[in-house]
């Protein structure tokens, strides 16, 4: 049993192309990868937008003036 290659023997070596395990799963891995990427970007935008909303609500007129004045 092996997840991929079973021998590094010289007679075998010249025939090996893919070195990775689970050959045949490339397309399903691509789909999972794309889902992770798009999911991450959507999560990032939601997370960022929420934190701005939260921050904006805490930065009313007077607080804001004070914060800017203390800026170094």
């Amino acid at each position: 049993m092996s997840t991929g290659i079973e021998s590094w023997g010289a007679e075998n070596l010249s025939k090996i192309d893919a070195l990775y395990p689970f050959v045949g799963s490339e397309k399903i891995m691509t789909i999972i990868g794309v889902v992770i990427w798009i999911g991450w970007q959507i999560w990032q935008m939601k997370f960022e937008n929420n934190s701005y909303e939260d921050q904006t609500s805490q930065l009313s007129g007077e607080t804001l003036t004070k914060v800017i004045s203390e800026d170094d």
């Binding site: 192309d17 990775y20 490339e26 990032q44 960022e48 937008n49 921050q55 930065l59």
Partner: protein, 442 residues
């Protein structure tokens, strides 16, 4: 790989490309250093993270489709999908493969160009763009539009090369021109930072929070740029076809040498530094930006120029970039925080056009079927800066603005992107000091 000599040649080529990758990491380290240093202290961590997070999103999208675009799209107008199958993410060469010693290092070299592309855009738009919006532009420029321009104009089979004789050996247009244009497209929609322009329209300087560190960042970029230059060559190619004449070539498989580009890199850097210092009256930031712009202006033809030609073109390119930067700033109220449009966009486009006059009539490809001309280069510069650079980001920026997710809220911009994190840090510090006092008095 057959015999010992073939094996050595292949592994040398693999190692050659490999070594350009860690060198190009330094470009990104330098970009982060200078972008953060140019920002105000109240924005520095968010500025850093905005730039840094382009790394994973551009990397995975280059794996999913960016690299495929390069192989699939050389023909006009939409390429030949069949030619790109080797770079599809499920192809057996896009992974650990014992019969292939080049795909991974070649992909990585392209990827590091992609990071640079996205990073150029990043600097221009700091202190007011949302990270989420920027990361969309990073994918657009880093994994789509620059890959289209590379397929069209940075490959011996790209139609800009085979039809117009476009020549751009070290990416004056295909990286710098397009990214300057892309940055300008976003800036036109995003608008300036609050306070950048006085009510009468006079631009104000917004000083870097750490001026000398910004310049060290640029110096680190120079260092990494050596990797960028080497990665634009093919290290050892049999030009004779029968094993009697080997040489390094440009990406177009036309002859050059590492010695040539070493001469020209250094002489165009020297020209750019001298011009930048003189124009800005010794300002550190513009002098170092001038050094970079000098290299960028000469890059299109640095595979072939004489070192003194590279020196002269570096000088003129910086003059063009500097003058255009301030003219555009005043005329169109564009707030380009780091001068990226100038250093990359104007100097790069100037460099593409200059190569058309300097190398007029040179064969653009190895078989000599098409020649370099000024009009081919002018057309190419327009394709890069305007068609593939400005227009796509301008349209996407309008869409994101319409959705209300392009720019950070006014209050957050005024208080600073790091304001709340910084408050937490201060209060954590105070807690620790109090705990230490309690311990000291025990």
């Amino acid at each position: 790989m057959g015999n010992n000599l073939d094996a050595l040649t292949t592994i040398f080529t693999e190692f050659y490309y490999w070594i350009t990758v860690p060198l190009m990491f330094l470009i990104h380290v330098g970009f982060c250093m200078y972008e953060v240093s140019v920002s105000r202290a109240k924005n520095k961590m968010h500025t850093l993270m905005k730039n840094a997070m382009l790394i994973p999103v551009v990397t995975v999208t280059m794996f999913f489709f960016g690299f495929w675009i390069y192989f699939a799209l050389p023909a006009w107008p939409v390429g030949d999908m069949a030619t790109g199958t080797g770079a599809l993410p499920w192809d057996v060469t896009m992974g650990s493969n014992f019969q292939d010693h080049i795909m991974g290092v070649f992909w990585a070299a392209f990827l590091l160009f992609s990071w640079t592309a996205a990073s150029i855009v990043s600097g221009a738009v700091i202190e007011r763009i949302r990270t989420g919006a920027f990361l969309i532009f990073a994918v657009l420029v880093g994994s789509i539009t620059w890959m289209i321009d590379a397929a069209w104009g940075w490959s011996p089979s790209g139609w800009l090369v085979t039809e117009w004789g476009y020549h751009d050996a070290y990416a004056s247009g295909v990286i710098h021109g397009i990214c300057g244009g892309a940055a300008l497209g976003i800036l036109a929609v995003l608008g300036p930072r609050i306070g950048k322009f006085a009510p009468d329209g006079t631009p104000r300087d917004i000083p870097p929070h750490n001026p000398w560190f910004a310049v060290i960042g640029l110096f680190v970029i120079y260092t990494g740029f050596w990797g960028f230059y080497a990665a634009c060559n093919a290290p050892i190619v049999d030009l004779s076809g029968d094993g009697t004449l080997f040489s390094a070539t440009s990406i177009y498989l036309t002859p050059t040498t590492l010695s040539t580009i070493t001469f020209n890199f250094l002489m165009s850097l020297a020209g750019g530094l001298m011009a930048g210092y003189m124009l800005s009256k010794g300002d550190a930031y513009w002098t170092f930006s001038g050094g970079l712009a000098g290299i960028i202006a000469a890059s299109a033809g640095n595979d072939l120029y004489h070192p003194l030609q590279a020196f002269f073109i570096g000088i003129v390119g910086v003059w063009v970039a500097y003058r255009l930067h301030y003219w555009v700033e005043r005329k169109f109220k564009i707030d380009d925080a780091v001068g990226a449009v100038a250093v990359h966009g104007y100097a790069g486009s100037f460099g593409v056009i200059a190569a058309g006059f300097m190398l007029w009539g040179y064969p653009a490809v190895a078989d000599g079927s098409v020649s370099i001309t000024p009009w081919g280069q002018i057309g190419g510069a327009i394709m890069m800066f305007l068609v593939l650079g400005f227009i796509p980001t301008y349209i996407v920026a309008l869409i994101l603005k319409g959705m209300g997710i392009l720019r950070i809220p006014r209050e957050v911009e005024l208080a600073g992107l790091d304001y709340f994190d910084e408050q937490t840090r201060k209060s954590d510090n105070q807690d620790i000091v109090n705990a230490e006092l309690a311990n000291a008095n025990n």
